[in-house]
Symmetry: C3
Subunit: 138 residues, 3 copies
Amino acid sequence: MIFRQKEVEIKAPKRGFFIVTDKIVSAIEFGDIKIGMMNIFLKHTSASLTINENVSPDVRVDMEEISDSLVPDGYDYNHSLEGPDDMPAHFKSSMFGVSLNIPITNGRLNLGTWQGIYLNEHRNHPGLRKIVITVWGV
Amino acid sequence: MIFRQKEVEIKAPKRGFFIVTDKIVSAIEFGDIKIGMMNIFLKHTSASLTINENVSPDVRVDMEEISDSLVPDGYDYNHSLEGPDDMPAHFKSSMFGVSLNIPITNGRLNLGTWQGIYLNEHRNHPGLRKIVITVWGV
Amino acid sequence: MIFRQKEVEIKAPKRGFFIVTDKIVSAIEFGDIKIGMMNIFLKHTSASLTINENVSPDVRVDMEEISDSLVPDGYDYNHSLEGPDDMPAHFKSSMFGVSLNIPITNGRLNLGTWQGIYLNEHRNHPGLRKIVITVWGV
């Protein structure tokens, strides 16, 4: 039974949706796991993790625009002291989630051909985001 | 320690929400696991997996209608070359997620009485969807 | 390899978003796990679990208000026999999800400073909610 864990920090260049598959995969060793799982956990409440299309940059732009149209920035929230983007960021964080589980098969992440791991930065001024990566398997 | 993994393919009859609990449960052996977990991972970005009500067909119809009202089909997205249903499908895939984790207890999935596993097909013309099932436990 | 599981029941005081971190953490022993994972699984389809901000009560109020604005109560759903809050509750349950995975590090849940575990009660008249907690690790 293999169990490994590592914490990494990633900073998005700006608000939006960004592919971080390579940063995650290169951060931890799991090539010796034949059958297993990887969990990726983001330790924040105003960003999120998801899996989506890994080719078209337009998809990332649309993800941002649709998210913003569903939960617009503004000062009409009870929680608005930290800026008009703060409460919408909290909601989006829960809508997309902060914890991903991906199977490992024969030493590789078993993602679909078109799947990439996204870091979704929901604040206007991104900071460093801490991500705990855990792998386990046999 | 038990660790098993299997890939299955499921095709939804059309766009919409469909219960696939039996197909998942019958695909892999876990009756010998007393305490454990099952992960179900969909290798696509325009469909999703979720858990919801397993009796009323109306719930599945409403899930589809509410999803569509939140993220309507159309050509107003940057990513629209693959059809008016494509970008909404990507968004819904991230909103619902593609990875489910369900506890195993005494050799059975520990779902609630009214819970079923849904395959959510967000494209108008469904294809085969690959799902990786992983179980582990003692 | 450690594997433990326990079922707890939690009742929200009313419809809304509530922090339950302490109730979850105190329900199961995991102080002896150096590297591991915790899964929390809600056995219902009209409530959900999420991780969000653990300080400002305003965030919980806004989470409820934004959810309700996206999926309003009403009788315009096909599935409305159980009340105007029932179908919206099913949708929110799938939007937020019923299964959370959180890493364990050195015997503690590895949550971010501002992260708390929420029970989201989407029905007007809450009942007891069953939650299966599973921990595993080394």
